[in-house]
Symmetry: C2
Subunit: 241 residues, 2 copies
C-alpha cells in the first residue's frame, strides 16, 4: 500500500503482488506490516503510473520490496467487487492513529483518493528466497516471510487473493516450468520433489518423480553434492539456458 501523494497514477486501479518464496519445506509469502498502530498486514501493492505498462508497475512493486527483477511474475486475476474499498480498514487505522497521523502525512485529499472503490489486478511472483533481502518501504513497520498456510489476517480481500494465486501457481507449475524459480540456481532432485510436495501438499513417488522431471529436458546435471552424510551423494541440477 502506497500513499499516492502527488504521483500521477491511474485512479481506482491497484496492483496486488503475491510474492512466493520457498524455504525449509515451506511455501512462503512476503507480507509487510503497516507502520501504524494496530496489526495491519497488506500484500505489497501499488498503483499504475500514467505512462507505465501494468506489467512494469508489477515489476516495480516487486523490485521495491525485494530488489529482485527478471524473475517470474504474471497477472492471474482481477478483483473487482463493487464494495472493494480501503475505507473500512483505513477508518479503523485512522481511529487507532489519531494522534500520530499528522506526522505520517496523509491529508484529506489522499484519504479521499485511497478510500474510493478499487479494482485490483492480482500478480504473483516466484523468487529465490535466498536472493531476497526484504525491504521495508516508508509505510512498512516490518516485512517478513509467512508460511502460506499461516498467514496473518490481511486487509480487505488479500487473504483470498493469496488463495487464488496459489491455485494459479499449482495450475501453471508444470506448464510454465516455474517451480525452479523458487529454488537456488543449483538444487538436488530431492529439493525439487520437496518443493512439489509442499506446493501440492501431497507426497510424490521418488523414482517416478525423478523420471518426470528429467523428461522435461530442461535440466543440466552437474557434479555431485557431497554433504558428509553416510549415503550416496545426490547430483546437483541447474535449469538449462
Amino acid at each position: 500500500m502506497d500513499f499516492p501523494g502527488e504521483q500521477n497514477y491511474i485512479e481506482q486501479l491497484s496492483i496486488d503482488c503475491v510474492i512466493f518464496g520457498y524455504h525449509q519445506k515451506q511455501l512462503k509469502v512476503l507480507v509487510p506490516k503497516l507502520n501504524f498502530n494496530g496489526d495491519f498486514y497488506a500484500l505489497p501493492s501499488g498503483f499504475v503510473i500514467q505512462d507505465e505498462d501494468i506489467d512494469a508497475a508489477a515489476d516495480r512493486i516487486l523490485r521495491g520490496r525485494t530488489g529482485i527483477q527478471d524473475t517470474y511474475i504474471d497477472q492471474f486475476h482481477v478483483f473487482g467487487k463493487a464494495g472493494r474499498s480501503n475505507e473500512t480498514f483505513l477508518d479503523k487505522l485512522l481511529e487507532l492513529n489519531k494522534d500520530t497521523l499528522g506526522e505520517k502525512g496523509m491529508n484529506k485529499k489522499q484519504y479521499d483518493w485511497i478510500t474510493k472503490r478499487f479494482v485490483s489486478i492480482g500478480y504473483y511472483a516466484l523468487v529465490d528466497i535466498n536472493k531476497v533481502i526484504p525491504k521495508k518501504i516508508a509505510i512498512d513497520a516490518s516485512i517478513d516471510w509467512y508460511d502460506v498456510r499461516e498467514l496473518p489476517p490481511m486487509i480487505m480481500d488479500h487473504n483470498e487473493i493469496v488463495a487464488k494465486a496459489l491455485d494459479h501457481l499449482r495450475i501453471n507449475i508444470d506448464d510454465k516450468l516455474i517451480a525452479f524459480k523458487l529454488l537456488s540456481e543449483t538444487f538436488t532432485m530431492k529439493e525439487i520433489q520437496e518443493l512439489y510436495e509442499t506446493v501440492f501438499n501431497k507426497p510424490f513417488a521418488r523414482n517416478n518423480f525423478q523420471k518426470k522431471i528429467l523428461d522435461l529436458n530442461v535440466l543440466d546435471r552437474l557434479e555431485k553434492k557431497f554433504t558428509g552424510a553416510a549415503n550416496k551423494a545426490p547430483f546437483l541440477y541447474r535449469l538449462r539456458g
Copy 2:
C-alpha cells in the same frame, strides 16, 4: 465503445467482450461497426459503474448487445500497455466526421475522458447463436457475426484481444465444459465434434471423440433425431442439470 456522458464510471478502466457464437462449422465473434464515417469496428465494450461488480459490468455489456444473460462469461486477461489509448483511432474518426460530429453529441469533456490511456479487462462469453438477436446500441451502425478467422481490422488492440480469448477458450473448453454453451439445448454428437474441430482447427476421430465426450458424464441421451436422410438416425443429447 460507449460515450461516457454524465455516467459515473471508473476512469481509464474499460471492459472488452469477445462474444463467441457458433454456426455452420464456423466459430464467430459478434462485432459492431461504429456509426460514423470510416470503417471502425470495435468489440462490445463499456465501463464499470462505481457501485457495480466488474463481472456485472461485463454481463451488462453482453446483455446490451445480445439480450443474453446467464451464459458463460469470464475474464481472461488484462490489457494494460502504457500507450493503450483511443486517441489514435478517435482522431482519425473525428477527422472523417467533422461535419456530423455535433449531432452525434461528443463534446470536449467526453473527448478528453475517452482518449486517456485505458486499462481494459478482457472477458469472453459463449452464447447460443440462435438465441441471440444482435442489438445495435446508439453508436452502432451495424452489428454482425464474423468468422473468427475473417475478422475485420478492429480499433486499437481488439484483434489481439480476440486471439487471446481464443487461446483461453481452447484451454478451458474441456475443463469447464463450456463448449455446450455454444450449441442449442439439444444437439447431436456430430455437432459437438464439428464444434471441437472448428475450435481447434483439426479433425478428431469419431469413435474416440464420442467416447471422450460421453465419459465426461454430463450429457443425457434423448430420443433420436430423424432427419429424413438415408442413414442411421443420431441421438440427441442435452447437458445434464
